[in-house]
C-alpha cells in the first residue's frame, strides 16, 4: 500500500533544510518518496498571523538558546556538520527561488530534484546570497541547470499564481510554519517530528495509520 508523503518547504528555513538532509534516509528505510511541495513561508505566516522564531523569540530569555541546542543535537545526531552553515545573509527573501521551484516541478521530476538540491546547498551549505539575481544565475549555471529558462519562468504569471495556490492550500490543510509534513492527511510540524513521520508512514503502509 503506497502512502502519500509531502514535505511543504521554503528554502529560507534552516530547520527545513536539515529535515531535507534526513529525508533520504527515511525514504530508504520506508521505500516511500517524499513529494516536495514549494510554499512561501512568508505567505503562510501572513495567512495564519504566525511569525518566524526570530520574531516570536525576540526578547525571550533561554528559549533561543534551547532552539540552538536542539539544532546542534539534530546536526550531531544525523552527522550534518559538514553540510550545514548558517547563511550570513539570513533572512533571505526566497520569493524568486521558490518560484523557480514551482517552475521546475511543472517541468520534470529529475530537473526539479536537482534544482532543489542545488538551491538548498547554495542556501545552507555554501552558503550564498540567494535573493541576489546575479548570484542565483551563477548558482543555477554552476549546478548544470537551465539557468536562463528558470530565471525567465520566475516571471511567468502561471508560476507566480501556482506558488500562491500551493501556499493557500497548505494553510487550508493546517500548515502554520516550516518544516511541515503530511502523511496522508496527518500533519506533522518540525524537524523533530521526523521520527513520528516515519512511524506514521509505516503504520499507513500496514493499513493501521
Amino acid at each position: 500500500m503506497s502512502v502519500n508523503v509531502e514535505f511543504h518547504f521554503d528554502f529560507g528555513s534552516p530547520n527545513a533544510y536539515l529535515a531535507h538532509r534526513v529525508i533520504p534516509e527515511i525514504e530508504a528505510r520506508t521505500g516511500e518518496c517524499f513529494r516536495y511541495v514549494p510554499v512561501l513561508l512568508g505567505g503562510v505566516f501572513k495567512a495564519t498571523n504566525n511569525a518566524s522564531p526570530m520574531v516570536t523569540l525576540k526578547g525571550v530569555k533561554n528559549k533561543p538558546d534551547y532552539a540552538r541546542i536542539e539544532m546542534e543535537r539534530f546536526v550531531s545526531r544525523h552527522e550534518l556538520a559538514e553540510v550545514y552553515r548558517f547563511n550570513p545573509h539570513f533572512p533571505v527573501n526566497t520569493l524568486q527561488i521558490m518560484r523557480g521551484a514551482v517552475a521546475m516541478q511543472r517541468r520534470d521530476s529529475d530537473v526539479y530534484a536537482r534544482y532543489v538540491r542545488v538551491v538548498y546547498d547554495a542556501m545552507w551549505c555554501s552558503p550564498a546570497k540567494m535573493d541576489d539575481p546575479d548570484v542565483i544565475l551563477e548558482v543555477l549555471t554552476a549546478g548544470d541547470l537551465p539557468a536562463d529558462e528558470i530565471v525567465a519562468a520566475m516571471q511567468d504569471p502561471k508560476v507566480k499564481s501556482q506558488l500562491i495556490a500551493n501556499t493557500e492550500e497548505s494553510v487550508a490543510r493546517g500548515v502554520f510554519g516550516s518544516p511541515s509534513f503530511f502523511v496522508g492527511d496527518e500533519l506533522y510540524f518540525g524537524k523533530d517530528k521526523l521520527r513520528d513521520v516515519e512511524e506514521e508512514i509505516e503504520a499507513q503502509k500496514r493499513g493501521t495509520g
Copy 2:
C-alpha cells in the same frame, strides 16, 4: 553509573501532567528515578519574558489546532484517555499547591510522591478547582495526606523562599517553560522530548552521553 534526572514541574501545565503520567514507564525501562523539582511556571515566564501557549498563540491560526492534535496523539500513544480531563477552571493559580509540593519534598520522599500524585490527579484527572483553599483541603484529606500540616506549611517563609529559589535556579540553568527535564546538565523541553530524554539517560549510563 547512576544518572541525575530531573523533572521541573508546575501542576498548572497539562503537558507536564501528561509527561508525569509517562515518566514511570521510562523509570521502569531505564532503572533511573526522575527527581521532581517544584518550580513556579509564572515565575519562569516572568524571568524569561516568555508566556504560555494560551497567550503566545492567541490570534494565530492553525497552530493551536496542531497543538491539540499533538496532545491527542500523545494521549492516544500512551493510552492516557482515561486519566486526562482538561481542567475547566484553567488557568488555575498554582502558587499554594506548588508551595505544598516544596513543603512535602522537604519532609519525606514517600509523602512527597503521594502529594504529587494526589494533586496532579485532582488537577487533570478529576479535575478540581485547585486554587480554592476549601477544595485543596478536601482533596488532600481524601488523599490521606496531612492536610492541615500542608496548608499551614504553604505560609511558611522557608517554603515560600525555597519555591522562589527553585524557580530562579531552574531559569539560571536554561528553563523557559514546562515541562522541562534535565539529564545531567542536558536540558530537554516538552513532552515530545521524552524519547530523547530516555536515550540520553541510556547514553549517560553507558558513559557516552
